[in-house]
Subunit: 344 residues, 2 copies
């Protein structure tokens, strides 16, 4: 079964993925932050059987596991692919996860909230992601009772999530706005419309390979569809800005950009050891080059998929053991060399 990011439509030139996250709590347990060990264990055991129910109703494979059975390497690889959150990975109490084989849906158990349903769709497709999350939410609600208040909506551990309990986000690739240093201005503008933009690995992290996540701030006072519609409009505006800037940069610097793209390809094609930071920057430049037809590859290449596969955890996952940075850098370079198609 293809992973979500292996799907063709993932090759949107600016929006890599659309994601919906729903925060839910069960009425019979205290919030995760004040839960004791025994209650946490009960919660996990009560939610895990959902796996079979969802698998049947959705008619595709789902798996579950307890977080404490995962090795550090597994956790890192899952973090890199956004299946796990850092909070869940580092949880001291019993916690669990349910994931679909294609990794488009994951349900975290006993993270900040009892249940966090997350769904991802390739490209700009918040509606598809929302429909997935919504179906899982309905199935879950048939089996378990949510903590819900008629006035406030879904009750959540952190007040910023009360209401719909929903966060919608898009992962966007913004090299032109980044190199024009227009991201701080964008942060200001988006804040006025209730949205936020940050590096791909969560709040406060710096953006790797000029990839950002744009998401709604408020969860209360608007319906799910209004939130999605608002974010969708904002994302379309950012796309226009990025496109405009790319065209401007191309019009004044075509030759320099072309050269940068070819050099990036040359380095990636012949490197013997490369850090994930260097690789992300060069792959970003290569993506820009293929999107803007500065360079043609002989075969299609899903660069975003490659970006995920070369993260430290994923590299180690492939060989099934933990290795040092220098070995990882060599394996990463070898994997990239083998994966990159020739150029036309």
């Amino acid at each position: 079964m293809l992973k979500w990011y292996e799907e063709k439509e993932a090759n949107n030139d600016i929006v890599i993925s659309s994601r919906i996250r729903l925060a839910r709590n069960l009425d019979k347990y205290p919030f995760s932050s004040i839960m004791d060990e025994k209650e946490a264990k009960e919660l996990v055991e009560e939610v895990k059987p959902l796996t079979q129910v969802i698998a049947e109703k959705e008619d595709k494979p789902y798996y579950s596991c307890n977080i404490n059975t995962l090795s550090d390497m597994d956790k890192t690889a899952m973090l890199e692919r956004h299946i796990l959150s850092p909070d869940l990975a580092n949880k001291n109490q019993p916690a669990g996860i349910i994931i679909s084989e294609d990794e488009s849906v994951s349900i975290m158990i006993n993270e900040e909230d009892h249940i966090r349903i997350q769904s991802i769709a390739a490209g700009l497709n918040l509606t598809k992601a929302y429909e997935m999350a919504n179906r899982i939410d309905d199935i879950t609600n048939e089996e378990l009772n949510y903590a819900f208040d008629k006035k406030y909506g879904y009750l959540t551990s952190c007040p910023t999530n009360v209401g719909t309990g929903m966060r919608a986000s898009c992962m966007m690739y913004l090299p032109a706005l980044t190199s024009a240093k227009m991201i701080p201005k964008l942060i200001e503008e988006l804040a006025k419309f209730g949205a936020t933009i940050r590096g791909t690995y969560g709040e406060g992290t710096k953006s790797l390979g000029t990839i950002y996540q744009i998401s709604n701030q408020k969860t209360l006072g608007a319906s799910e569809l209004e939130i999605i519609d608002n974010l969708n409009r904002l994302v379309l505006q950012v796309i226009r800005h990025e496109h405009k800037r790319r065209e401007y940069v191309l019009s004044i610097n075509h030759d320099e950009l072309e050269e940068q793209v070819y050099r990036a390809y040359g380095i990636l094609k012949y490197s013997r050891q490369i850090s994930s930071e260097d690789a992300m920057t060069l792959l970003s430049q290569l993506k820009f080059g293929t999107d803007y037809k500065l360079l043609y590859l002989k075969k299609d290449l899903n660069i975003h998929q490659l970006m995920m596969e070369i993260q430290p955890g994923s590299i180690q996952w492939k060989i099934g053991k933990t290795v040092g940075r220098s070995t990882r850098n060599k394996m990463r370079a070898e994997f990239i060399r083998k994966t990159l198609p020739e150029i036309k």
Copy 2:
């Protein structure tokens, strides 16, 4: 006929070439610096017929021309290949040149001195270069009367050349000493032994691609063979220093150097436009990598020959017309792409 730099023995890993230059003046003319237009013209016309005599005695093709018949492009290409000196190229008075087809011998007429005989041999081979220059000098002296003083030796326009009138030099590739910032120290050391080191394009020029020229300072008070012997010993010492430093650097930084070499290859292999400065630096790194077996090419490559062929003048010479910098950069990149063999 192969150019001297196309010969196999040019592939010495440190000494690219050995060169001898003899400064000579004819007794019947005033020195070049105080000569009038008419005398300069007479000098050129008197020396030029030497071409046939030398060609016959040496049994290989020689050509001659007046400098004012050369285009700027021709001059640039000849400067880059050290056939011409900047002084001769920019001369306002009549001046000429005689060169052998393999470019191993050139005789400049009315440069700083009336006659400057220059000979080049590949690798460290000052004796071979000296024997060539000496033969040409003997032939010339049979035809023309030199200004010679029993006490001082050959009389020259500049007093620093009086005596043997000889300058011996070696072009050396010193990347390890350069990156260790050991060149200033080397300059000091060599000065103590009457030798000087400078960038390849003459005094005060900065070294391109970490290539330097080491030559004797004094021309008076020692015989030609003593000068050659002294320089030879100094060059052998510099070779030892460079080798030692390379081995040290390789022992502590093998992986980083290997990566640098592969990246250099990757950029050269895919670049679409490259300045001569960038190309020289990357080709130097590639040369280091092939010399030290960090990277294997599928076919032999004379990197020093390639370095000469990608200089601005040589690039334009190939197509027979003057073009702007940006076009040259594109042609240079294309030429390098086509010339570089694949790696094993």
